[in-house]
């Protein structure tokens, strides 16, 4: 299944792109409207980009009355990403989404690097959200933590149905001439190719620790990238930065992924999930066989 990473697509301005996904994930919705951070709020860096958008969104009231009904008409399953500044915020947001038929799943954004207020522990947030909704809950974690598997286990114990891995990680870029930060906020979330090995490590660790379904994201730009994060343990793949340069990426990566699967000759797509954890794999057997041949 191919999704977009939250905040990397507006389905209402680009409905064709949203329809090319298996599910559309909204930009994070907060209790109150937020304008976001002052510009400039994006900067390209080597192998990726920084953003400090700052959770710009219309707030839950306007989202429910204006945005969600229009998203429901798109004909693509909708996942709503929610973010709060207290544990109670998450519970309230989930409660208000619970009876909306347009919502297939809720993603708990407990990891935005671009806001100052730090909410309670991940376990508390997930438990409060769990009590407020029957919808499937995916908890989106930051890779900027000493032991992400511990955080994932806490989310699992509190009742999350799955994990979204990973959010961006703080980075800083300085202006060539002034040596001042290029973003108005200073640092911003690093995404793109630079994030891929970090995402792979997080997915690998959390899959081993929890066995939960994982939406893997972070620098996925090709079918090869997609199959790698699936092998690390992701059941689904989300696209972020690549959508900015290639809005046609979902279709392209789906086709490339099918070719990668065929080349691997492992049968069903599900057989690839977590393949990197297997003691012996088709790839290593092939490599071992090749090594044996070269020895001879």
């Amino acid at each position: 299944m191919i999704l977009n990473a939250s905040g990397c697509l507006d389905a209402l301005t680009a409905p064709a792109v949203a329809r090319s996904l298996d599910a559309f994930v909204t930009k994070t919705v907060t209790p109150l409207p937020r304008e976001g951070n002052a510009p400039p709020r994006i900067a390209e860096v080597e192998q990726g980009m920084l953003n400090s958008i700052g959770l710009a969104n219309p707030g839950i009231d306007r989202f429910l009355s204006q945005t969600l009904p229009r998203l429901g008409e798109l004909g693509v399953p909708v996942w709503v990403s929610v973010g709060g500044f207290t544990v109670a915020d998450y519970a309230d947001l989930c409660d208000r989404l619970d009876d909306r038929p347009e919502v297939e799943a809720i993603e708990l954004n407990v990891s935005c690097p671009n806001v100052d207020d730090v909410p309670g522990s991940v376990g508390e947030i997930v438990a409060a959200a769990r009590a407020a909704t029957r919808k499937p809950l995916y908890t989106k974690l930051s890779p900027a933590t000493a032991d992400i598997a511990e955080v994932a286990l806490a989310a699992q114990r509190a009742g999350t149905d799955g994990l979204s891995l990973v959010n961006t990680i703080l980075g800083l870029a300085l202006d060539n001439h002034t040596l001042k930060p290029r973003l108005s906020r200073g640092a911003g979330g690093l995404s793109g190719a630079a994030l891929k090995p970090i995402a792979l490590a997080a997915v690998y660790a959390c899959y081993a620790a929890t066995g939960l379904p994982i939406v893997g994201m972070g620098g996925i730009a090709s079918g090869r990238d997609a199959i790698e994060i699936v092998a690390a343990g992701a059941a689904s793949v989300a696209l972020g930065t690549i959508l900015f340069s290639d809005p046609d990426a979902p279709g392209r990566i789906r086709a490339e992924l099918a070719s990668e699967m065929a080349a691997l000759a492992v049968g069903e797509a599900d057989n690839v999930i977590g393949l990197a954890h297997a003691k012996t794999t088709a790839a290593s057997e092939t490599a071992a066989a090749a090594a044996a041949l070269s020895v001879q």
Binding site: A14, I53, A193, S245
Partner: protein
Amino acid sequence: MRPERARVTGGEQIGPYTLLRVARGGIEPGIPGQFFMLEAPGRPLPRPMSLCLAPPGELEFLIDPIGPGTRALCALQPGDELAILGPLGNGFRLDVERPLLVGGGIGTAPLPYLSEALGSPPAILGFRTARHAEAARLVPNAEVVLEPTYVTEAMPPGHDVLACGPEPMLAAVAQLEPAAQLAWEAAMACGYGACYGCAVEVDGELKRLCVEGPVLAAEAVAA
């Protein structure tokens, strides 16, 4: 929404700028003031460029090589290919009675195509140096001013102003002509409303320039 592969047909040095020519293929040139996202070879993100001219079978972009992406674009050679998405955004309204085109520096870029659409109206172009001012030859009926003279000192009253240039110039034009149409610039990752990077204050709220603009009524934008 799919970027098209386009083939570079040539490039021409105009002062410090490069006029990049690509084969049009199936790409529509759009309305003057609209823009395209051009793949910047070797860079993670494409670059937004307004269309400069649309001769038969081609699209032409005037590019100022100020960073790694624009330098990569200016270095493209005939036969090279790049992905192009567009036309995007809202262009200039062309239902004007007494048009006056006003441009500053690389803000001259959309004016040749606009001039063509409006029947070569008068234009006032400001540049930092005589070398930069070589770009004025792309715009017919243009009066050129060089720093320290500003375009606002040369603008005759009583016209429908259509302007593109650096922010201070647009702010000064907006003061003089509140009904002017202004083409703004902002850093953009996507150009189609996905990244929320190109926020500008429109009617007192931060909005996406790629969706609301890049051409905006002067009175809508806080100067």
